[in-house]
Symmetry: C2
């Protein structure tokens, strides 16, 4: 699914929200895990089963109001091989429900190894003459520290399979300025990375006006957002940091273009843990997640109107 | 296993070689895969079984001449959940044979997510009150673009479990200078990252004189190696790029300290594919890998003598 298709989905649903599926076990209501714990005890496989059930329930509740999900690889790797199975099944289920899936993997490596990552998350694995899809997401996040060598294999999947990538530019965390905001030959490092994104996106424009090469730009840094927006008018921004990390809808208004497009805003805990605020012990986790996704949509749409 | 234990193993074996286990299927001799292909056909599971067999054979052949292995996560993720099983089994087998295992994952993320990565690769996963080891390697590679927030969870595992990390400083690939060598407020970015390593290593010195926080420094850039060596006398260097990427033993001499220690040098294809040069169709892949590891050891030891 290309950025073109994501933009169509965003328009259709009227929502720029992406639901982060980054569950630690404590985010899953007890009512969903009790039988699994009783039958299997505390194993990685049992935890991965609980996570799968939670993810499927969230996808069912969100798929007609939210255009995209973003599973964060770390929480699946934390459960070993069973977590990898849950990740793969989650991706496939969300895609069956018509959602755009961003693998939040922040991968970075040199040529041949970067190719293996690109094939795993966006392309196909070649096994004795057969091409087998593995995770086959619509998009992935990448880290640019290694330069063009590390990005080119992902661009190849963008060109050949209409996939998209989001390059880390300015991250939402407190210490992101330690390197990203320091001056590199007259401009902050994050601007130098944004400049490279312009080059990497060459030939990857789509009819909707946006390019397959996007940027990760934290909601918590509105000033940097404005600078990056002006440098990269055609890049889609993946914006983490809304809600749990403290950024408001007003803080992210700069990430959008005047057409009301140009950014998707992630919420993970805000949506996944919405049930913790309703006093029903999680029996309403689906309704709570859906209500929060709708509230967040309206909050953002009002702020950028 | 701490960096202290690695140094003891290096001294005992007289070898600073780390064997990169990064196999694409084409690196595995046909004689190892024929029966698997015949029985299972071209599936991810069959490929992961073939890779496991190859890795175990290499570990058997290398464990008394090479102190460490470095599985590159990308090649396991390329095989999906079955690849994750092979990765885990490979790590466990190498540790049983007494080898130090570096997870080459180059992970980077913000606080809570970086914790999940650190727990997966170096620590333990908490499942309903139980602490379960997942990959439980001795060391991992990390990318510093996100600053201290992204590194601190790994430092916690170094402090609590005597693990080590290698931070990407100057990578071995051609385009590594695009960001790493540009001037950041008077010094190249790679020097700024090295300066942070000094801070991150505070309190993590070990009795052998080396610190748990090391650096990835490409063999292909001897001048940068010299600069980083002088800045970080107590950091162990993980040095990729010898052999297949074109660097010679002379090129890496600068990575070592006068005590003959301070660096481990990776070879992946050189060792894994040594069988392709002997004319025996891979029936001798173990002997060929072992001979190459010994040749490489002698080549390096002579260059730094």
């Amino acid at each position: 699914m290309s950025i073109q298709t994501l933009v169509e989905k965003i328009k259709k649903l009227g929502s720029p929200v992406v639901a982060g599926l980054d569950a630690r076990l404590e985010y899953i209501p007890d009512c969903l895990t009790e039988d699994i714990r009783r039958e299997s005890g505390a194993t990685l496989e049992a935890a991965a089963s609980a996570l799968l059930r939670f993810n499927f329930g969230l996808i069912d509740a969100l798929c007609d109001v939210v255009p995209a999900i973003k599973p964060q690889a770390a929480y699946y790797e934390l459960l070993g091989p069973a977590g990898a199975r849950t990740l793969r099944a989650t991706i496939r289920y969300a895609q069956e429900k018509g959602m755009y899936v961003i693998a939040d993997v922040k991968r970075n490596d040199i040529g041949a190894t970067a190719s293996a990552y690109a094939e795993s998350y966006l392309g196909c694995t070649k096994v004795w003459g057969e091409e087998l899809p593995v995770y086959d997401c619509d998009a992935a996040t990448v880290n640019a520290y290694l330069g063009t060598d590390g990005i080119e294999p992902f661009l190849k999947e963008c060109r050949n399979r209409q996939k998209s990538i989001y390059v880390l530019v300015k991250t939402s965390n407190k210490s992101s300025g330690e390197f990203q905001n320091r001056d590199m030959e007259g401009k902050p490092l994050f601007v130098r990375v944004a400049e490279k994104i312009l080059a990497w996106g060459a030939g990857l424009d789509t009819p909707c006006g946006y390019n397959e090469v996007g940027a990760v730009v934290g909601a918590t840094y509105p000033e940097e957002q404005k600078i990056i927006r002006s440098l990269l008018p055609k890049a889609y921004f993946l914006v983490p940091g809304y809600g749990a990390q403290g950024a408001t809808a007003q803080d992210i208004a700069n990430a959008f273009n005047p057409d009301g497009l140009g950014a998707i805003v992630n919420s993970s805990r805000g949506i996944m843990c919405a049930w913790q605020k309703t006093g029903h012990n999680g029996t309403d986790y689906q309704e709570a997640a859906r209500a929060e996704a709708i509230r967040m949509r309206d909050d953002i749409v009002n702020a950028i109107r």
